[in-house]
């Protein structure tokens, strides 16, 4: 029974007292129902009490509310890295209750993980090097060749830097007796470290006092050590390190983007890289730049079509040759996954003794590989108590969907090497919030180890906790789990503040390197162009539907002006020409220009911008991504929807103007905006501001001011009324008007002057000459003489300029250096 809490001591505040009461009550209620071996029930409750008090302090006695708060923080943190609304929600919602492990217990776990990492490295090195473990009979050859992750082409190649493994993940289970056991090793590109970071951030934001109360160990030093370890393996002293991603359609892309940003790595895809003369380069706006190391998150078989699968379209031809020559570090080395095969688990105790001369500090889950007669006999005799699993990557025939027990036994006899038997591991439980109370649920823990600068193994204090859905899940059945939990290693010693960081776990370990990959420049440029294009189209739709501050605007525009507006929208590809100019026809036309697919409607342009935003999320602020990914408005009237979108675009423009660092990425973004805006303005001027074929009517001029967002500026300057020449001067030539043609031309020239050039001869590059010529034409024009020919020329020159920018800076225009086709004779 719970003891009644003492009344608040003098000076102690009532809320704190309440928190203590709630926490005590939750714990008592939980312990009464939790299994004996539960983590909370079987250990000291003081840390849990402290943690739950923190929870109660923010959520009072409402645990459901606490869960929502943590989840909201997690969603918030993750938004910048996830595609909201595309079925790519966070795969593991975060539990508000962290997994607490005492520092003393953790020391043993960490030592076991470090020992295991070292063992895995040495065995991997032997398999791809001397081969003594197989030759001397410690390992059967078939144990190695069975793994589809054993890459024979890598045999005999010494990994640059001397190590195959730099970053590994180990899945652990805590058994009923409190002992920890290894369930699986992840040696290729273990996922989850990014989620561990996010979980920590989300929990820290909710339970702010936990860090100080429980002396929770921090993650940042681990990541700093990992980065330093890769850098130490490189030949150059200040190496450029990339994170090689399969691209944004990969399910782990958000995590990769997050980690790249956090670690200050260049996020690159295969198309960004070129292997030339045995060295690897990243294609940047300043030309090809050496890249010294890649943390690869790409399937090794896709890395290089010349070494592995010639069908790989995302690999880098020649990468493996460069690696073999020692010119680029790959973490982890290709082929490092061979030891992930479950069959290897059966040999780990033997290997530990043979290779390290030690017993395993963390035992592996008991495993029998059926290739041996005795092992197969054991498994066949215990079919009902063991879990029968594939020994390697492929699903054996006896475990196929419709296989019967007889099928299994028959295939076991034919191909015993495809099977392992594994003991079923009962799992300890920990408290999670279900509904509004704490419930015991089984958990597993993924721990990460990285190689530091001196080659030593550093273990992340904590990791990625996964919680099963059903109260009685076994280790094998828990699979990926349902929820995730932050893992806090707590102790009595205060954790030293790290001078590297000013706030725990929230700062980047390093700043992003200045190198801007061409692909990113391309993305930012087109993000700017599409956003601006959407804005211009919206402005035209709004004028058409009637939203001018001019009392005579909108619905009562003259048919001639309305016709021109329709022409402007059709000319921009926004929608098909309406059958007439009736109110109904125009409304339908406006709707089409807003949302029809198949045209360059606002919805389509909006989608392009959003897709580009997704591909650049490692460099965009979370707020920006959120705005880009906000759903397209579909409710209420057309005018209101257009207004909602316009405000959203304005917010995005504000963010890019006020919150983006003035680096080259921003320059490309703004360049895109300026070029697009200049094109739209030139077009509008030609339609509404010219005098030769049709005389500009006051309606035309007012529309021109609306499209150029210059109504107010004009009225302040010329209160007497609209006249053609002053309107044209304001919209086209006034360099003080940020919407004018002249203003755009100046910004364009300025951006191009500041972007890097390739030559050192001080000569202007093509795109710079184009920009200078354009600015000169506009600077020397006068409003009275500005004619359609000049404006047409300006538009053409803008198109040429855009092409010159693409040719010079983007991948599409550059000399192709990777496969677009393949030969298989």
């Amino acid at each position: 029974m719970a003891t009644q809490p003492a009344p608040p001591a003098p000076g102690q505040s009532a809320p704190l007292f309440d928190a203590q009461v709630h926490a005590r009550r939750w714990i008592d209620d939980y312990i009464a129902r939790a299994p004996l071996h539960d983590l909370l029930r079987s250990g000291p409750t003081a840390p849990w009490q402290a943690m739950l008090e923190e929870l109660a302090a923010v959520a009072s006695d409402d645990l459901g509310h606490a869960r929502e708060r943590v989840q909201r923080h997690a969603t918030d943190i993750g938004t910048g890295f996830r595609i909201i609304g595309d079925g790519e929600e966070r795969p593991w919602p975060v539990s508000p209750v962290p997994l607490l492990i005492d520092a003393a217990e953790w020391t043993g776990i960490a030592a076991g993980v470090a020992q295991r990492a070292e063992l895995l490295e040495r065995v991997t090195a032997d398999l791809y090097g001397a081969g003594t473990l197989v030759a001397n009979g410690t390992l059967p050859a078939a144990l190695v060749t069975g793994s589809p992750l054993f890459l024979r082409p890598m045999v005999g190649i010494d990994p640059p830097g001397g190590h195959h493994l730099h970053f590994i993940g180990v899945d652990l289970a805590r058994g009923p007796g409190g002992e920890w056991r290894v369930l699986a090793d992840h040696l290729r590109a273990p996922a989850g470290a990014g989620y561990a970071l996010e979980n920590r951030l989300a929990v820290a934001r909710t339970l702010g006092g936990l860090q100080a109360k429980l002396n929770v160990q921090r993650h940042a030093p681990f990541f700093a050590a990992f980065r330093a370890g890769i850098a130490a393996a490189c030949r150059r002293t200040d190496p450029r390190i990339g994170l090689l991603t399969p691209g944004r359609y990969n399910p782990s892309y958000p995590e990769q983007a997050h980690l790249a940003r956090y670690l200050g790595l260049l996020l690159v895809e295969g198309a960004d890289l070129a292997a030339l003369e045995g060295k690897v380069y990243v294609r940047t706006i300043a030309g090809l730049k050496r890249i010294d190391a890649l943390w690869r998150r790409l399937d090794p078989r896709l890395l290089d079509p010349l070494a592995f699968d010639t069908h790989s379209q995302i690999g880098v031809p020649g990468l493996i040759d460069a690696w073999a020559d020692g010119e680029v570090v790959l973490a982890n080395a290709p082929g490092a996954g061979a030891l992930e095969a479950p069959a290897f688990a059966a040999f780990m105790p033997t290997l530990s003794r043979a290779v390290l001369g030690e017993t395993l500090k963390l035992p592996t889950i008991a495993t029998w590989w059926c290739a041996g007669d005795a092992q197969r006999a054991h498994v066949e005799a215990n079919l009902d108590t063991l879990t029968i699993a594939p020994a390697f990557g492929h699903l054996p025939l006896g475990l196929a969907d419709h296989a019967s027990r007889a099928d299994l036994l028959a295939d076991l006899a034919r191909r015993p090497q495809d099977y392992v038997g594994q003991e079923e591991v009962a799992l300890s439980t920990m408290p999670v919030v279900v509904g509004d109370r704490l419930e015991p649920r089984p958990f597993t823990l993924r721990v990460f180890a990285a190689r530091g600068a001196d080659g030593e193994w550093v273990v992340m204090p904590g990791g990625f906790g996964r919680i099963g859905e059903h109260p009685q899940a076994t280790a094998v059945a828990i699979g990926e789990g349902l929820w995730s939990a932050d893992v806090c290693i707590h102790g009595s010693e205060p954790v030293a503040a790290i001078s590297l960081l000013t706030a725990p776990d929230s700062l980047h370990v390093r700043r992003n390197p200045g190198t801007l990959p061409s692909r990113v420049a391309d993305n930012f440029y087109w993000l700017g162009r599409y956003l601006e294009r959407g804005e211009a189209l919206l402005a035209a739709i709004r004028v058409l539907l009637g939203n001018s501050i001019d009392v005579d605007g909108g619905a009562v525009l003259s048919p001639a002006t309305v016709g021109k507006l329709v022409g402007l929208i059709v000319g921009a590809g926004g929608a098909a020409h309406p059958p007439g100019l009736s109110r109904a026809a125009l409304t339908a036309f406006a709707r089409a220009a807003m949302e029809d697919e198949g045209w360059q409607s606002v919805a389509a342009v909006n989608r392009y911008a959003r897709e580009i935003g997704e591909a650049s999320r490692d460099r965009l602020s979370a707020d920006m991504v959120r705005l880009l990914e906000a759903p397209f408005p579909t409710q209420r009237g057309m005018l209101e929807r257009a207004g909602t979108l316009q405000r959203r675009y304005a917010a995005i423009a504000g963010l890019s103007a006020e919150h983006m660092v003035r680096n080259d990425a921003w320059r490309f973004h703004d360049l895109g905006r300026r070029i697009e805006r200049a094109m739209a303005t030139a077009r509008a001027l030609r339609l509404f501001g010219m005098k030769d074929d049709t005389v500009s009517t006051p309606d035309d001029l007012s529309t021109l001011l609306d499209l150029g967002d210059s109504q107010i500026s004009y009225r302040q300057r010329y209160p007497t009324g609209v006249a053609r020449v002053p309107v044209v001067d304001l919209v086209a030539l006034d360099p003080g008007n940020p919407r004018s043609l002249a203003f755009q031309a100046e910004r364009i020239a300025e951006h191009l002057a500041k972007l890097p050039v390739l030559g050192d001869d001080d000569m202007a590059e093509s795109q710079q000459s184009h920009a200078t010529a354009l600015a000169a034409i506009i600077a020397t024009a006068t409003a009275a003489d500005l004619n359609p020919d000049t404006l047409g020329d300006v538009e053409r020159r803008l198109g040429t300029l855009s092409e010159a920018v693409a040719r010079r800076y983007f991948l599409q225009g550059a000399e192709p250096l990777r496969a677009v086709g393949l030969t298989l004779a």
Binding site: L127, G131, V134, A135, N136, G137, P140, A141, A142, V144, T145, G146, L151, R152, P153, M154, I157, D304, P305, L306, A307, F308, D309, T310, P317, G318, I320, D321, A324, D325, A371, F392, H394, P396, L397, A400, R414, R415, P416, Q417, D418, E815, P816, L817, R818, A819, V820, G821, L822, T823, L824, A825
Partner: protein, 301 residues
């Protein structure tokens, strides 16, 4: 018998190709019963030849880099190979299929020539249960390995029709199996599937067979192009034994091994990447001529 082999691969590209990087595995390897005497590789119009670091199969690989724009590419491989290989004769003392399966599982040879490398499915040859079941009737575990291997090859030769239009280079074994027709590659892949499904070490061999048959004997199928067949590891004494399911014969004096791997992907004579947008057309011509009077086939029954 000494053979002179000329193997010409010619690519015609619709548009200019700016850049090509290829793996050439055209130079025949040395293999029990055959020895490479002389070899020349000629690339036209121009190309840089060098070593390649990473190689999966048993092949002599050369890296070809073309970095000047070309419209055609011609690769001519000329080899002189001595072949002196007896026809294996099944014997009651041969190891059983169960023996070789167990030995392969327990083998301590991790090299590309070791049997353990060939008992698992590979990317182009999955363990298809349909093919496995069909082959299983010839592969009872207590049967002698040579005798059983030839029985399976003969049944494939009998039940399948050679048809150069039925399949392509990337047709999965199951498709060829279901239509019961195909070419040497399909038959080899089907036989390998069956052997591996039974746990046996089976490799894919590519190479040549003589173009002009000895007097009085029929011309062998597959002689005008590169050929493919199966190698079955028959224990440490017999080693790798070649079986040609297309012709229903043993690999002996008429076969010249070019390369050996788990499947075609590891030993494609030419593969790699080209940079260009046009379509490509490929022509292959193969000529295998015996240089001396045809006496080496005298071992044929």
């Amino acid at each position: 018998m000494i053979y002179h082999i000329r193997h010409i691969t010619r690519f015609d590209y619709g548009n200019q190709v700016k850049f090509a990087r290829c793996n050439l595995r055209l130079k025949p390897i040395d293999w029990p019963g055959q020895h490479l005497e002389d070899y020349t590789l000629t690339v036209e119009p121009v190309g840089r030849l060098g070593p390649a670091h990473a190689e999966a199969g048993l092949a002599n690989v050369t890296r070809l880099v073309v970095d000047t724009p070309v419209r055609t590419l011609s690769i001519e491989s000329a080899a002189r190979v001595t072949v002196d290989r007896l026809i294996p004769i099944p014997d009651a003392s041969d190891p059983t299929l169960a023996d070789i399966a167990a030995w392969a599982r327990a083998s301590h040879d991790l090299s590309a020539a070791g049997p353990a490398n060939y008992i698992y499915p590979s990317p182009l040859i999955p363990l298809d249960p349909e093919i496995g079941d069909w082959c299983a009737q010839d592969l009872t575990p207590d049967r002698g390995c040579l005798e059983a291997g030839m029985a399976l090859a003969l049944r494939i030769q009998r039940d399948f029709q050679f048809d150069g239009t039925a399949t392509f280079v990337d047709t999965p074994p199951r498709d060829a199996f279901r239509q019961r027709r195909g070419v040497c590659q399909d038959f080899a892949q089907i036989m390998i599937t069956g052997l591996r499904a039974a746990g046996l070490p089976a490799a894919y061999a590519s190479g040549y067979i003589r173009t002009i048959p000895p007097p009085g004997q029929p011309r062998l199928v597959g002689a005008d192009a590169t050929h493919a067949w199966v190698l079955l590891w028959c224990g440490p004494v017999r080693g790798w034994v070649g079986i040609d399911p297309t012709n229903g014969i043993w690999m002996a004096g008429d076969h010249i091994v070019m390369a050996v791997g788990r499947d075609y992907a590891e030993i494609a004579p030419v593969d790699g990447v080209v940079l260009g947008s046009g379509a490509q057309q490929m022509d292959v011509s193969v000529d295998v001529e015996p240089l001396e009077g045809g006496l080496s086939y005298s071992t044929a029954p």
